[in-house]
């Protein structure tokens, strides 16, 4: 039986580094009703090819369709559902937190526990940089929100299969 429950999938897509390729891929998700939780794009190990990592949710049938439809794009070279394997997924967030000078030590304590870093200090704010899996970043945000988050920017997940695969 195929699984009809909605699960999160992290899909790696190796594409030709051509103008419009991001539009081809994201457009496909949009028009076929596949959702995109996050999308990251950058250089790959091979010149002329880029790697996109898309986090999506869907049942087995949807994910199978996503893979097959992606392969129909001429500029798509390879599609791998990373979450079918043991994988490392990481994202980075920059969080600007309201902080009067007196509150700084308390916030810096939190940041340290998370192995995050303060990368900028303003007169009334701190900028925190945190790297980790999605859950870790969610937790950092939750802990900082009582102080007042003025601005938040997340990169979305990039990921790789563990080991020699």
């Amino acid at each position: 039986m195929t699984n009809t429950t909605q699960t999160r999938h992290t899909i790696s897509i190796l594409v030709n580094d051509q103008p419009g390729v991001l539009q081809r891929v994201s457009g496909l998700f949009g028009r076929r009703g596949f959702n995109i939780e996050s999308i990251t794009v950058g250089q790959s190990e091979e010149q002329g090819l880029s790697r996109m990592i898309i986090v999506t949710t869907g049942d087995d049938k949807t994910v199978e369709q996503i893979e097959k439809q992606l392969y129909k794009i001429i500029d798509v070279i390879k599609v791998v559902d990373l979450s079918a394997n043991p994988m490392v997924g990481r994202e980075l967030a920059l969080i600007k937190v309201k902080s009067e000078p007196t509150a700084r030590p308390e916030i810096m304590g939190l940041v340290e526990t998370f192995r995050a870093a303060v990368v900028d200090i303003g007169t009334h704010s701190l900028m925190v940089q945190v790297v980790g899996d999605t859950e870790k970043i969610d937790a950092m945000i939750e802990l900082l929100s009582p102080y007042g988050i003025r601005e938040l920017s997340r990169t979305g997940v990039t990921a790789m299969i563990r080991g020699n695969a």
């Binding site: 030709n16 419009g20 028009r31 369709q65 439809q69 392969y71 129909k72």
Partner: protein, 586 residues
């Protein structure tokens, strides 16, 4: 036909003429020569500012024929009709902005029905792209969801490679339209012409032709075991050239067969095992066969909703085998037990080597034969020979009888399309040209022009409604000026018939905005273009004018004034399963 096609020349000749010479040429000259090297004999197009260099290069150019249509939509539908009739890539050219956007419907039509097209658009100069320049439109962006692939040419040096790739992509795997957008400065720029003739190698594009042998063996085994097997054959049979292999399969196994709208002609309609078309307006026998089958073998068909009816309840008793060149079609709509990815012709030839007669299906065959005899398409027709009144079905039967099913028939979209599909009995592939997937009104006339250009020796009949014919009737000019001898049939019921039918059956006779009063006198319209126009309102007139039309060497418009309230039956209403058919008044 006065539109003379250029003599096809051998690649050696062309090679000598162009390839081996080191010549510096404009992008426009390179485009034209590259098209000829791809085997292009006929191009449909419309000039404009951004393609002026291309049209300048075409001045006096004799190596392919250019047909100037009267609207870009006419050009692309004509290219589509050409491609479907010839089994070659259709080509059209339009200018930037509105020229390009006028192609959009035609591109979507070709995409939905997997027609191979290379669509060439001009664009504003590279330096102006992105500035909202005059007649600028982002046509590669606009058409991304409806093209198999597209190119924005950035340098004249890329042009030969891109054209060669475009033809390869359009005409291999699951076929489809490929767009090449050429900025004006690229068509003017000069470079050394280095033609691309070597095989295309694209890392991201390797259509699977040869199927998994294990799955083919599983299918052969399933056929041997089946008691109620059925073949559902679609457009893929025609596109792959697999019609002979399909006939062999049916003859070997004795499996009954139903052909989808786009599959018509892919199997001879006179064959004992042929059950007709399935789906919304399919035969009783086809639909019941699908619902009762224990093995349904889909061959180059994609389980469109007009074929399946309500998905949950489609072929409930059947094990499903699905043969398709496009892996994404397998399992998309219907859960598949035996998936076979590969070229239909290749798969069938392989299957034919191992398959044996379906011995256990004798009872099934006789059941289907009984239904076929008892429940053919039917309509009530009490009109006497000289009485005013024509049934549209009767007119299609007249066309069928007088041409013995040997004409190429194109249609527009609506009731007349379904009647043509039901009552014209096709014997050959590439003889039935209709917009099945997108359902594009305006397709009938221009696609017939394209088909006639591809097949000058065949009779081409374009069957239209009085609604759709008005969406591209300007192309009558092309028929007249080029003496393209298409027979343009209008089943004129003075109403948007299919909409009327749905409003009658589903919207409780609330006939909203379907009256086509104010349409032109189609005989006079034809005459205004210099095309012969004829009209018939009785059976006797119909026989006479149709004979006259067939005897006329040039184009003819025949306006058949048919009954207004006629509906297409059987009908499976949306949301119903295939066995829930309205049979109409029998």
């Amino acid at each position: 036909m006065s539109a003379q096609m250029p003599e096809a020349r051998s690649t050696e000749e062309l090679k000598e003429k162009w390839v081996d010479k080191q010549e510096v040429l404009t992008g426009s000259d390179i485009l034209l020569r590259s098209l000829v090297l791809e085997g292009v004999k006929c191009v449909f197009g419309y000039p404009g500012g951004a393609v002026l260099y291309i049209y300048d290069a075409m001045y006096g150019f004799k190596d392919f024929h250019h047909v100037l249509t009267r609207h870009e939509q006419g050009a692309i539908h004509a290219a589509d009709g050409y491609a479907r009739a010839a089994g070659e890539v259709g080509v059209c050219i339009a200018t930037s902005g509105p020229g390009a956007t006028n192609l959009v419907t035609g591109i979507a039509t070709a995409y939905m029905d997997s027609t191979p097209l290379v669509v060439i658009t001009g664009n504003v100069a590279s330096t102006l792209i992105g500035t909202d320049a005059f007649q600028e439109a982002d046509i590669t962006g606009i058409t991304m969801p409806i093209t198999k692939h597209s190119y924005l040419v950035r340098s004249v040096d890329e042009l030969p490679r891109i054209i060669h790739e475009a033809f390869h992509i359009a005409n291999t795997g699951r076929k489809g339209p490929v767009l090449i957008d050429i900025p004006k400065d690229v068509s003017a720029a000069m470079t050394l012409f280095q033609p691309h003739t070597e095989p295309v190698a694209l890392r991201g594009y390797n259509p699977r032709m040869i199927p998994n042998k294990l799955q083919v063996d599983r299918l052969a085994e399933a056929i041997a075991q089946a008691e109620r097997p059925l073949i559902l054959a679609g457009g893929g049979v025609v596109y792959s050239g697999g019609h002979e292999a399909l006939l062999e399969l049916v003859n070997k196994t004795g499996i009954p067969i139903t052909t989808t709208l786009l599959g018509l002609g892919g199997f001879p309609s006179g064959h004992e095992q042929w059950l007709g078309m399935p789906g919304m307006h399919g035969t009783f026998t086809s639909n019941m066969a699908i619902q009762e089958a224990d093995l349904l073998i889909s061959i180059g068909a994609r389980f469109d909703d007009r074929v399946t009816g309500k998905l949950n309840g489609f072929a409930p008793k059947a094990k499903i085998a699905h043969i398709d060149i496009d892996p994404a079609e397998i399992g998309k709509n219907v859960k598949t037990d035996i998936p076979i990815v590969g070229d239909v012709k290749t798969v069938l030839e392989l299957l034919n080597k191992t398959v044996t007669h379906a011995d256990r299906a004798d009872e099934w065959r006789s059941q289907l034969q009984q239904w076929k005899a008892e429940k053919p398409f039917r309509y009530k027709d009490d009109y006497k020979e000289d009485e005013i009144g024509l049934k549209p079905q009767w007119v299609v039967e007249l066309l069928n009888e007088t041409t013995k099913g040997e004409a190429i028939v194109t249609t527009d979209v609506g009731q007349h399309q379904m009647w043509a599909a039901q009552y014209y009995k096709f014997n050959n592939p590439r003889s039935w040209i209709t917009s099945g997937g997108l359902g594009t009104m305006g397709f009938g006339l221009p696609s017939a022009i394209g088909a006639q250009m591809a097949k000058p020796d065949r009779m081409v009949i374009s069957i239209n409604g009085d609604g759709g014919i008005q969406m591209c009737s300007q192309e009558l000019a092309i028929c007249a000026i080029n003496n393209i001898p298409v027979k343009i049939v209008i089943l004129n019921n003075q109403v948007l018939g299919m909409v009327r039918q749905w409003q009658e059956l589903i919207y409780e006779n609330r006939y909203s905005h379907i009256d086509l009063a104010g349409s032109p006198d189609f005989v006079k319209l034809a005459e205004a273009y210099g095309v012969k126009g004829l009209r018939a309102s009785t059976k006797a007139e119909a026989r006479a004018v149709w004979q006259e039309a067939m005897d006329t060497p040039g184009p003819v418009v025949i306006d058949f004034v048919v009954e207004k309230g006629e509906n297409v039956y059987p009908m499976v209403q949306q949301g119903m399963t295939l066995d829930q058919m309205l049979m109409g008044d029998e």
